[in-house]
Symmetry: C2
Subunit: 456 residues, 2 copies
Amino acid sequence: MGSFVETLRGIVGPAGVLEGDALQARLAGKPQQQARWLVRPADTAEVSQVLAACHAAGVAVVPQGGLTGLVHATDTRPDELILSLERMQQLSVDTTQRVLVAQAGVLLESAQAAAVAAGLMVPVDLGARGSATLGGMVATNAGGNSVIRYGMMRENLRGLEVVLADGTVLDMTNQLVKNNSGYDLKHLFIGSEGTLGVVTRVVLRLCEPPAGRGTALLALPGFDAVAPLLRRLDQALDGTLSAFEVMWQDFYRTVTTPPALTRPPLAHDHPLYVLVECGTADGTERLCEILAAAMEEGTVADATIAQSEREAKALWAMRDDVAQLRRSGPLVAYDISLRLADTGPYIEDLRGAIGRRWPGARVWAFGHLGDGNVHVAVHVPQLDAAGRSELDGLVYTPLQALRGAVSAEHGIGLEKKAWLAISRTPAEFALMRTLKQSLDPRGVLNPGRVFDTPLI
Amino acid sequence: MGSFVETLRGIVGPAGVLEGDALQARLAGKPQQQARWLVRPADTAEVSQVLAACHAAGVAVVPQGGLTGLVHATDTRPDELILSLERMQQLSVDTTQRVLVAQAGVLLESAQAAAVAAGLMVPVDLGARGSATLGGMVATNAGGNSVIRYGMMRENLRGLEVVLADGTVLDMTNQLVKNNSGYDLKHLFIGSEGTLGVVTRVVLRLCEPPAGRGTALLALPGFDAVAPLLRRLDQALDGTLSAFEVMWQDFYRTVTTPPALTRPPLAHDHPLYVLVECGTADGTERLCEILAAAMEEGTVADATIAQSEREAKALWAMRDDVAQLRRSGPLVAYDISLRLADTGPYIEDLRGAIGRRWPGARVWAFGHLGDGNVHVAVHVPQLDAAGRSELDGLVYTPLQALRGAVSAEHGIGLEKKAWLAISRTPAEFALMRTLKQSLDPRGVLNPGRVFDTPLI
């Protein structure tokens, strides 16, 4: 393979290829990264040439962004090549067209800062903004905190540039809102976790930032109140509802009990809590009115409305203090999606099933319920691999009958591959394989992630 | 082919197949419909069996909805089979999940009525609502009047059921907001104009209807005012801006001059007019405030705000009175998309080029400029086929350098096939052909529409 490395060096320059000791030094402390080469192209042309070389040589390529994924889609094996987009950092903002055009290695945080500097806003936000790259967020169709109002990455992408497995550059960097000129090919690549092409450039729409914000924490009398409350808020807020984060009691207690930093803004004895946010100038006043009506109606048992930015931040800090769940020991975290009406009963059934199997287990439920997205975190003392698989089964198996999703926003990667058939039919698998075979016939792009493909 | 027809009758029953005189009677007066058979399946299973039979026999299939398309995607040749979805009319609404699940033959108007009856709203609307079917609207990724707020069909679809060319049924009837469980396959079929699969069932999200509405007609001092005005409205209206319809002076004069029914609400001498609408409880008051500021700033020269539902309807009736353009004689209508900054100069250049070539020509420009979508209508006296092609060239050729779209919302069909390369690269064409070949290897589905494919 000496000549293969020479080929790579010829494309990206000697500093653009790491192998041997230099690579091991970079990957130290990351046991899931076992690659043979790491290549850092500087532009799309270099990505194209690297992919063409790998395609010709039959070398498997794992595209990597900020490594913030949670499903092991970018773990590498010892025979694989890491394609890092870290040098691809160009970025520009157009305030008339209201788009941001960026190379794939740009961090979400950098994109957000550039948009804000131009008086606009990137409509996608998530906790890992300081390390997640735009390319990775496209490949995983990232969701995050404001999906309910602005959608996921898919809904915010105007265009893409993608390099196919054989090095073909697909320029789909459309900036237009409406374009029905032929197939909209970019959707093939959004959320396909690097298995169909490498994202090299993104065109994101930018939005006008809300003129104000209202934030409140509500206590609910039970799960039956969730759907009517969500509808009432949506009706009264004219589409400005930007967060509807539900916390079951167990979660709320843990994040508001010492050593957690937050003291409980509302009493501990309600079955459910909802953190609500809207982005509109008179948000606080509007939430006041709506919540008064909801309390009268009985869908809200108690509420506190943030009276300042500081109070709003404190409510979010409580919701985001997920680290408290680890106080009991290691966690298994799930990211599932269900129909709203099914979600309450599903969580109760799951809690019962886990409690019967492991009486010492703990189960926390919370999530972006405005989007149907539930995060379930489970601690089972001394859980071994067989137990983990059994736990996965308890979480995932009921989703089949409910037509739920084994992944709402994190993707499949390697972690959920065995469970993908819960959410997808054999005919869908066949079409996914057809697409993979058509776009990457030698199977060099992120092979074996999402679903199994024939060996190279 | 006798046994082929027997096969069809065996699937859909004798009343489900038309041929010969019965078919000619039905197609009478439609010279663009020359099919040999028309088949009307009652459900997905029948669609599947019909497609399998056509696939086996190498018969070309043209799926048809309400025949409201404008680009001849559903014209048929004498050897083709029309697959009409007209018998597939099931419909249900779920007010908790806020989705509508419907078979493909359901009319937009019926879907809208069912949503309204349930206190909700279909977020897509267009003039042909009384004949357009949901299946056809998916196949063409229909746009319409409220794209600026709610998006096109694509953004409003949660799930689809599609039958592939060989009869394989793909159940992708997802109802969830977030689902990153494998490739999101439905996007392949949205906007692919029936060339990759037949849509049999749709899952549409439903929205809460706005609590109120504000409507205004504005006169602008020039095209440079369009972008800042759009941004000001968007900023101040918190995402509730639901229409931003620009009319150039020529269009405005024609639709407000007798025999047009509407008298001019604002003087005739402004270069541009914008019909603005927002969907929010205090819309009229908010528009008043915003327009006062915009007039002070100079982006609006004059304005009238509708004070009643009747006045709002009258403004829309004026905008929609496109029939007035035909007073001069036959029209050629274009549906293009450009970056906002390019649109004003493009229209001026086009007007100049057409005027130089045909001094007697008339050019009207108007459109959904909040979405970058311009409709250009041109009347050239005694235009023959060669002239039409020359006119097409004047309209489309400049779009290549501007990276505009030859179709914003109408699609490609047969009409724009020759011009698709203006908007798409050879690499994109190659991938479109790869997809067509992979999903419909015998080329039986709507062959030759959008782009040329190998013969069956």
